[in-house]
């Protein structure tokens, strides 16, 4: 950006208590001409009320089909340093845990090759290296690879799986989200790096039903920790909560969605009706010292989540109510491979898994991928009688 160019609108956004991305852009602009041009281009967008980026082209690094988002400005004359301004998606470590050392390594590489601007993190979970020339792609990758980093996904492939902080810090984790995320990401490197499917596919892992990575909304496959038996109540701790002034009836029991909890205010005792509890996490959230998940832990697998394009936003729905979730995660891997194969065979271009299942019907899906139908898959049965009968159904009845 020419030295004298002013950014009065953006300057406005340096004011106020929330940390400013404009300040960050200016810091980068000091060292990097592309970042400097970006400031100017964004100011222009604020004037024009429109974006100034062209539809991306296909750029990448050797051996990979994705991981880079190509980007070119539509004002290359004015902002020559943005002629090429691609983004690289770098796969993050499970749970977004870093040491300062590891972060500095990335910064150093990025200082050398790119704009110096980043997103920590992208919405799918990757480290986003924002803005570089085509010629810098391969060298950047090479150095990242040497430093132990690899690319995330883009295009019609698996996207970087992500997971909640899980057992690293959270007492609620019902399986090792970090390990599973690491394990399956390594297992599915080919799927992650070489687009081959009808469309993108996302996997997110939450250690419990609080779903701190929003898996149910944001992933085609949502792995949500749970247990098969009953919550464990520590009556001593219940008493302490009661004595500390908590209105257990109102705060805990009355908000239990299944009314599975009974509180004896006199005895200060809390009991659960095991078959009524839907494992929603509410009571545990309210009294983490007194209530714990059951002992037989694992996860529910839900599928189909995605945002609004094309057939509306879908949330994932129950596909397997309970699965043990332990290394080497073979049951999960087998299942997801079966499902991918089926999707790959039946899906139209740019049809997400959820949309395909909706289009052909859950029953067909279950049959073809070999999963048993259970009532947990639906809130309620069908309200129409439009049943498809199969030849084998008639044999049964004979």
């Amino acid at each position: 950006m020419p030295e004298d160019k002013k950014t009065p609108q953006l300057d406005e956004l340096e004011k106020g208590p929330w940390p400013s991305f404009v300040t960050e852009m200016k810091r980068a602009a000091e060292k990097n001409p592309a970042a400097s041009d970006l400031l100017g281009l964004l100011e222009r967008s604020y004037e024009d009320k429109t974006g100034h980026w062209k539809h991306g082209g296909i750029v990448g690094v050797r051996g990979y089909g994705g991981g880079v988002i190509g980007r070119y400005t539509d004002l290359p004359e004015e902002f020559p340093n943005l002629r090429e301004f691609h983004t690289m998606r770098v796969n993050h470590p499970s749970g977004w845990f870093y040491t300062s050392e590891s972060l500095r390594e990335i910064c150093d590489i990025w200082e050398k090759h790119g704009s110096g601007l980043t997103n920590f993190h992208g919405s799918t979970g990757d480290i986003i290296l924002l803005g570089m020339k085509t010629e810098e792609l391969q060298p950047t990758f090479d150095e990242l690879s040497d430093a132990g980093y690899d690319l995330g996904g883009s295009g019609s492939d698996l996207r970087s799986p992500s997971c909640c902080v899980g057992p690293a810090r959270c007492e609620y984790a019902c399986y090792d989200t970090l390990d599973m995320c690491y394990d399956i990401t390594n297992e599915f490197q080919d799927e992650l790096h070489r687009p081959m499917w009808p469309y993108k596919f996302k996997i997110k892992m939450s250690g419990c039903a609080n779903d701190c990575v929003a898996a149910i909304a944001r992933a085609d496959c949502s792995v949500i920790g749970t247990w098969r038996d009953t919550i464990i109540i520590d009556q001593e701790e219940v008493k302490k909560y009661a004595e500390s002034g908590m209105n257990i009836q109102r705060v805990v029991c009355d908000k239990c969605p299944t009314r599975a909890l009974e509180y004896d205010a006199e005895k200060k005792e809390l009991t659960v009706i095991p078959e009524d509890c839907s494992r929603c996490m509410h009571c545990i959230n309210m009294m983490p010292k007194a209530i714990q998940p059951g002992k037989e832990k694992g996860a529910s697998i839900l599928m189909g989540g995605k945002s609004t394009i094309v057939k509306s936003a879908f949330m994932s729905w129950v596909i397997v109510p309970f699965m043990k979730m332990e290394p080497p995660y073979d049951e999960f891997k087998d299942m997801i491979r079966r499902i991918w194969d089926w999707w790959d065979e039946n899906g139209k271009t740019r049809e997400r898994l959820g949309e395909l299942i909706y289009r052909v019907g859950m029953t067909t899906f279950l049959k073809e991928v070999g999963l048993p139908p259970v009532p947990q898959m639906v809130f309620r049965p069908r309200a129409n009688p439009y049943v498809f009968w199969q030849p084998e159904d008639f044999e049964e009845h004979k």
């Binding site: 991305f21 919405s123 924002l130 090479d142 394009i309 094309v310 740019r350």
Partner: protein, 352 residues
């Protein structure tokens, strides 16, 4: 040549020693103060997480700054959250206050835990994408500045999750947020036939339209749009640069509310459209900031303790929400897409 398919770095190398020691052995957590979590292990060990807000779009200098903080107060250990906050991790209670001071000194606000407003999940906007109907970072900054106090307080009725996406692709996954700020186009794409003739697979383009508004035009080797069937989703533009969807005049923002993803208490819910359009008014988008604040304040005023925005609205009824929040009901709020029927009120029991 560099190795390929090496996979992500091993997270285990980045874990704080107290985490390694107590991995999977945490007993409970509590809140030291807004922005500071304490996790207590069965062993008796403790881990403190100090959460600081980040603009997400940051320079490497910023990353180095926080590395310095981590080095000074936390032995170099830190992480990011699923909502792009920074968490400094330490087992040394005495480091908390000095760290907070150092953060604030650098302009990093500490907060966002418990029943507070956390960071706004967002997207690229005019900074890097080709299809935005609005900017991302700018609006987030404006809204967070305005609602700043709620990031620092944790006494809201429940946690408050705001998200922004700059177009209907919804990279910010706003569809299940307490409050969603969504960039929307409102006019039919302008077709550039040359571009389409050059590089577009016409059948795929035609198929991409959710409402079947695009027809092939074989004579012209291009396509035509049935204007009245188009609802400006921009999916065709994703398929072909020849379907220009951006319109500086008429692009803007829609507000959806009431989504959630956790399974606690109530089932996950979609956000729902309550304000169909607000204009793009950079640099501070006052209409949007005001609309979000109004919804937040109405919620704080009327919700019961523990009620997320959507839970509160579902209890009182959406018809009451429009009254209480003083938002005019628009026919645009009525669904007319595939699953519309389920939203129609099939009962004579409703409020005025």
């Amino acid at each position: 040549m560099a190795k390929i398919d090496i996979g992500p770095p091993d997270y285990r190398k980045n874990l704080h020693p107290v985490i390694i020691k107590n991995y999977g052995q945490w007993k409970f957590h509590d809140y030291v103060k807004p922005g500071v979590l304490r996790h207590v292990a069965h062993s008796g060990d403790m881990l403190y997480s100090i959460r600081a807000g980040s603009p997400r779009l940051v320079s490497i200098d910023f990353i180095r700054d926080i590395c310095d903080l981590a080095d000074e107060y936390c032995g170099g250990y830190l992480r990011f959250t699923s909502r792009n906050n920074i968490e400094f991790l330490t087992d040394d209670e005495t480091k908390i206050e000095p760290l907070i001071e150092a953060c604030e000194a650098k302009g990093l606000p500490v907060g966002g835990t418990g029943a507070s407003l956390s960071n706004i999940v967002h997207t690229q906007g005019w900074v890097h994408c080709h299809t935005p109907a609005t900017d991302a970072s700018g609006i987030v900054k404006a809204v967070m500045d305005d609602l700043f106090e709620y990031f620092k307080r944790d006494d809201l009725p429940a946690r408050l999750r705001v998200a922004l996406a700059c177009c209907l692709n919804m990279c910010g996954a706003v569809h299940c947020s307490d409050i969603a700020i969504l960039g929307v186009h409102r006019t039919v794409p302008v077709i550039n036939h040359d571009i389409i003739r050059k590089g577009t697979e016409i059948p795929t383009l035609v198929a991409s339209c959710p409402t079947g508004a695009i027809r092939p035009d074989p004579k012209n080797k291009s396509v035509v749009i049935k204007d009245e069937k188009c609802m400006y989703c921009g999916n065709c533009y994703t398929m072909s640069p020849g379907m220009q969807i951006m319109d500086p005049e008429n692009d803007g923002i829609a507000i959806l509310v009431g989504g959630k993803v956790s399974n606690a208490r109530s089932v996950p819910m979609f956000s729902r459209l309550v304000i169909p359009f607000l204009p793009n008014n950079p640099p501070r988008w006052p209409e949007t900031v005001e609309a979000v604040r109004n919804i937040v304040e109405t919620w704080i005023k009327h919700a019961r303790k523990g009620e997320r925005v959507g839970e509160w609205i579902e209890r009182i009824g959406w018809e009451r929400f429009f009254t209480l929040a003083d938002i005019p009901f628009s026919d645009k709020c009525i669904d007319d897409y595939i699953f519309s029927r389920e939203t129609f009120r099939t009962t004579a029991a409703f409020k005025y």
